[in-house]
């Protein structure tokens, strides 16, 4: 019986101590709880603020993207139009050289035109601006040479049957 009593006493003393500890630290505990709740609230508010900010950013981004896309589309359309004009100019080049050299074989005219188109495509497909400029210079030089040849022949300044300077330029390149 004494063992049982001792056990019950031990149990009670443990409970007492626990109660005392709780009483002593009640203030701290409530403070801690309060602080935890406050921190959670603050975190939540911050997250919400971030969300709102992000939503705003998204709407800005969307309008920006829309504007950029439509600009890019217009630019691309313009690009294709330019390309078309370039092709028309090259066709014109061919017909001009054919009209001044009346006995020019079709194959030569074709080669000249084909080379011009090759240069045009090189220019179009160049990745960086500098290369593009270089190719454009080459194309322009080529076109001026062809026109020059045609003009000289038409004026009777040369007696060549073929646009030699143009063909030389093709050989070089």
């Amino acid at each position: 019986m004494s063992i049982l009593n001792k056990l019950i006493k031990l149990f009670h003393s443990v409970k007492d101590q626990n109660l005392k500890w709780q009483l002593a630290n009640q203030g701290d505990q409530t403070k801690l709880k309060h602080a935890r709740v406050l921190a959670e609230k603050a975190l939540e508010a911050e997250l919400k603020k971030k969300s709102v900010q992000l939503e705003h950013d998204i709407s800005l981004l969307r309008t920006k993207h829309d504007a950029e896309l439509s600009m890019f589309k217009t630019k691309c359309r313009q690009d294709v139009k330019d390309y078309k004009q370039y092709l028309a100019a090259l066709d014109q080049l061919k017909s001009s050289i054919q009209s001044s050299y009346t006995h020019l074989p079709e194959a030569v005219a074709f080669t000249i035109h084909h080379h011009a188109k090759y240069l045009l495509n090189k220019m179009w497909e160049a990745e960086d601006f500098e290369q593009k400029m270089q190719h454009e210079m080459r194309l322009i030089r080529f076109m001026t040479t062809v026109h020059e040849d045609a003009r000289l022949h038409l004026e009777g300044a040369t007696t060549d049957n073929l646009p030699e300077r143009t063909l030389n330029l093709i050989e070089q390149q």
Binding site: I58, V80, L87, K94
Partner: protein
């Protein structure tokens, strides 16, 4: 409680060895009850703990903080998706632009190949009488083949060949 039942079982063994009558039966029942109740307590405590953990995690999952966090992640994902979409849209526009440019180029190529092939036809006809029949047929076939293949190089060499034949 489980550990406490072990010495009781040992005691039963000892009493059996000493051949004490009556006591071992009661002690065996006591030890078994102790063992089983010990297991029961263990299981109940385990279940209680698991239940507590589940309830706590469910509450945490639906807490305001977690909901706000999830919402933030969702919006971030939407922003990233928007960025990716922009990139792919630009790629798409570029691709279609390139396609229409290639189509223009091809149309132009075809037009000029047609005029070249017409010239070759004319040249061939003009030297038809000077050539043996088989050579003429061969050249004509070659011409048709190259034209169908849109093979510029081959057409040009064919033209040169015809020019040298005259």
């Amino acid at each position: 409680m489980i550990l406490a039942s072990l010495p009781v079982f040992l005691l039963v063994e000892l009493l059996l060895w000493l051949a004490v009558p009556g006591l071992p039966g009661i002690l065996t029942a006591l030890a078994t009850a102790m063992l089983l109740s010990g297991f029961a307590v263990l299981i109940i405590a385990g279940l209680w703990g698991v239940g507590k953990i589940i309830v706590r995690s469910v509450l945490d999952y639906f807490s305001a903080k977690q909901r706000a966090q999830r919402r933030l992640w969702f919006i971030q994902a939407r922003r990233d998706q928007l960025k990716r979409l922009f990139y792919f849209k630009t790629r798409q526009i570029k691709y279609f632009n390139e396609l229409s440019r290639k189509r223009l180029l091809q149309l132009n190529n075809r037009k000029h190949i047609r005029s070249l092939s017409k010239a070759i036809d004319k040249d061939l006809l003009s030297i038809k009488t000077k050539l043996p029949g088989t050579t003429y047929q061969q050249l004509k076939q070659d011409h048709a083949r190259y034209r169908n293949r849109q093979d510029i190089e081959a057409l040009l060499t064919l033209q040169q060949k015809i020019a040298t034949l005259v």
